[in-house]
Subunit: 436 residues, 3 copies
Amino acid sequence: MMPSVQLPDKEDIEGYFDRLYPLLRSITGEGLRETHKILSEIVPLEHFETPSGTKVFDWTVPKEWRVHDAYVVTPDGNRILDVQTNNLHLINYSSPFRGKVSKQVLDEHLYSLPDLPDAVPYIISYYKERWGFCISHTDRLLLPEGDYEIVIDTDFIDGSLTYSEAVLPGKSDQEILISAYTCHPSMANHELSGPLVTAFLYQCLASMKDRQLTYRFVFCPESVGVISYLAERGDLLREKTISAFVLNNIGLPRSFVYMRSSQGDSLGDRAVGCLAQKPEYPGVEFIDFYADGGSNWRHFSSPGFQIPTGCLMRCLLNGYPEYHTSLDNKNMISFAAIRESIKYMYHVCYVMENNRKFTNLFPFGEPQLGKRELYNNNIGGKYFDPSRQHSAIMWLLNLSDGDHDLIDVSTRANLDIDTVIDAAERLVDAGLIMPS
Amino acid sequence: MMPSVQLPDKEDIEGYFDRLYPLLRSITGEGLRETHKILSEIVPLEHFETPSGTKVFDWTVPKEWRVHDAYVVTPDGNRILDVQTNNLHLINYSSPFRGKVSKQVLDEHLYSLPDLPDAVPYIISYYKERWGFCISHTDRLLLPEGDYEIVIDTDFIDGSLTYSEAVLPGKSDQEILISAYTCHPSMANHELSGPLVTAFLYQCLASMKDRQLTYRFVFCPESVGVISYLAERGDLLREKTISAFVLNNIGLPRSFVYMRSSQGDSLGDRAVGCLAQKPEYPGVEFIDFYADGGSNWRHFSSPGFQIPTGCLMRCLLNGYPEYHTSLDNKNMISFAAIRESIKYMYHVCYVMENNRKFTNLFPFGEPQLGKRELYNNNIGGKYFDPSRQHSAIMWLLNLSDGDHDLIDVSTRANLDIDTVIDAAERLVDAGLIMPS
Amino acid sequence: MMPSVQLPDKEDIEGYFDRLYPLLRSITGEGLRETHKILSEIVPLEHFETPSGTKVFDWTVPKEWRVHDAYVVTPDGNRILDVQTNNLHLINYSSPFRGKVSKQVLDEHLYSLPDLPDAVPYIISYYKERWGFCISHTDRLLLPEGDYEIVIDTDFIDGSLTYSEAVLPGKSDQEILISAYTCHPSMANHELSGPLVTAFLYQCLASMKDRQLTYRFVFCPESVGVISYLAERGDLLREKTISAFVLNNIGLPRSFVYMRSSQGDSLGDRAVGCLAQKPEYPGVEFIDFYADGGSNWRHFSSPGFQIPTGCLMRCLLNGYPEYHTSLDNKNMISFAAIRESIKYMYHVCYVMENNRKFTNLFPFGEPQLGKRELYNNNIGGKYFDPSRQHSAIMWLLNLSDGDHDLIDVSTRANLDIDTVIDAAERLVDAGLIMPS
């Protein structure tokens, strides 16, 4: 059994959620910076700033976006679409604009979703100059004719792009990379769940005894954000990372969905795979790596890095209609689910930590278990020991040939991985096997 | 999308069919020679003649068979089973015979099919001296008692066996071998469809721009025919051929059936396989290579050559009862189907031509597609680009590691191969990838 | 077709069964020794005795157990649970005890099966000192209150553990190991069937002409018995054994069940696998190797030896409730089934003997079969040879490349292995192929 771990209280998670939710995040800027600052109360982050204009591989770090004010005044004098009310109203990275326009002109700068009429969509335009507002379709239909006053007081400055990192060292310098992205403004599941799970996972792992592996945590914006990070750390990651995880979309009270790495059999893939057999995690689904959508895993998995990166979620990215809208809010998520996500990832790490290969020190025939009290009973014939613990001991002795690791044993023997880990510990204690 | 290709008119195909159908073909002789001469109006064939008596591996080229006349006169004076009326009436390679025989003796030399009573069977006896006639079972039952006059005016001379070849060079000297056999007398699907498709395919490929691969076309009789060819060309084929096709049984208006090569994963197998996903070729069936029947593929696939040879058909060889009988005639086949067979094979060649491996020139993370106008839209968030073209671009960037070819990408990404080929071209044009 | 083999008469098998059944066998002792002596009437065994106290790998050969008498006298003076009546009544390796005890004390030393109330269970306690009796649950419930006189006149002496071996040499020194265990007292299927099949199989193989492989037969007790054997022979077995079999549980009139070796594709696994296609052995079931139960295969398969060991049975070990009880007696088994088990194993050996790789001596195209009378008919076209013999010839020519053995051909061609063996013989005789 996995040793119990101190998980954060739901209230504690919710507290951080409530502070982070209202911030106007983007791929640069103060909202992003503030987010990282708050997260560093949970995980001791080192912050990095890449200046605007820096070439990062094929990309250039954009100017930093600042938002001072943004709203629209209707012909009848009502102030609507105020970014202060809901920062989704303003297109992320909107150019500044000021002026009076007809309803028709305004209309060309409005974004709404006829199929989801109560939702304000989340729209970005990082690389194409554009101004505009996002509005619920219901509200849009009620807009009167006439002239509208537009105020978009934004500017672009020579600032920087923020990312942050924390490293939790283990005995080995083989690394597990765990990442979340922090560029999404006020949405709950996607994407505050990922940063919250990642940050609290750090806390749990920090308290793990005899940590073997080194864990590297990174928080950064998507795309140019992760590219900036890779420009700095890519060589090191390529050399040391044996398995990487992107955590996102992980706050819904649903079964887990795991996208395997491009390699399909990374340590992480195998650890998640064998845990999916446990009744305590019912209904885990697996999907194969895909390169034509999704998130930062594409960059980690690009031909120049090929870091085996999986993604743990509780829903496919497009698996819920509220995705990328104002409806992805606190009502959708569950802090119990977020807590369970932390536990599941911790369990995955526990399996990776313990997944060694062993050498049988008594490899010729079977060692005598009875004299070592490794039989649950000491009588034979019609009575025998049907326990899974006993099965695990027998299989381990057979497969401790230096070639099979514990996940192999678990799979081959169709035995719970935790039972196999426990059995290996008993056999090590009995002097029958040793790590290869 | 595959560039459009000028396919032959149905009338043109039919014209050649009508000229070829009546010829009395065999593994040697004038009918075979005339067939090759007519085919060389479509494809610039070089003709070869291997003299009778030549040792070709384990075989000896037989004497050339000549048929001057063959018929039977019934007791009541009717001339029947006249080879001039239907050359299937005479056993192929029948010995000469002349004389009056009882009905009982004649009966021992008649071949008919009780289960298919209206069909005249196609019977051969190349290596066992034998005379005889093939007759519909219906007619056989009506034969009166009495003496029959037999006239089989055939002879065997020191002649030669004919095969023909044409080579269409490409930039590479890697070769695709495409073959059909030409020893079958008056039958339509099996086997004039194969030679016709093969000959017109040459025309289509001759007009293909920037041909990479070299195509070798061969027309020859079965068995000792292909053995004779291999005796001459085997060493060269073994060295250069990367994929071979036997085209036969390919004139019925049915779905395609493809027998994979013995290797099971030749370039040809893979190209046919990925095209079978396209809705324009519905219902393509695949069968594994078999060595215990069928045609020339056995010889190409023999242990001494091991040329990976598939066979494209539109029906299994024994998949229609009319096979190897007079009922396999013009009524069975469709010139539209033959035309479609040419197109399908051309498409297969187009895929083989384009199936390269590429190297991503911006392998570190993802290159910035927006600035190169490789996004169909330049806005993000709730709006995204769901097109297959976009998917293909993303997958190609991920898999352009010098190890994956375009068929791999198509399979892995579950994307149409033509879409992948087009996307690769766009990425090459944009300077993002280059052939490995 | 496998050449016919002289199988033992059912009566002959039954005669040996009747002599062996009553013996009080254990992992040491006179019953075991006498068993091996009787078996050596069938197979010329060499007997080995490993002295008590000998260290064998991690184990120590125990003292030899002797049973002089054992019974219980009830309060009303009846002698029950007499080892002379049924040697299962006494716990195997029971310590000596003599005295008067209350029913309550006796009860702590009784073993019965409430779910199988008429069965006397088979109970062993080799390594824990313990005295006790096994009784049917029905009888147990009838025991009156009062004092019972216990007589267990056993002792433990510095004796030895017996195992026996016979080697049947073939032309090659590659070995097949066939083993059965002989420590089980009066039970029929499990386990007199295994020793009987093994012993008679020796006789059959001894009469096989031109034996290629060497067969090593071993009879020994389980666990410390096979460990003792391995201590002596392990190095030799590891070097020479290409496939091993444990034969047990093989006397029921049921379909065969075969547990594959740990490797999963040993010669034995493949031979049993292809025979399972034959209608004469209907319903053969396969299970994967398991290390957490079962018998001596665990020791042969331990990391220090890794001898690929399968197990042929006619029922899973726990597949019948009578297992390890007095109900596993002569009524359960069938001597016809035992005879059939001998035949099946002989057939497996026949396949292993003949499973060679061949080289086609006419590898370029197909050799001309007609002139060698290897066609069943010498006419072609609509008439063809659909026989499996012909298929086998064609496939063999294709796959005689030095890489494929006959089991490969059988599998790939979906042809009966015996047909393939016969065809190979015909092709060798015709000078077309030769062993690689």
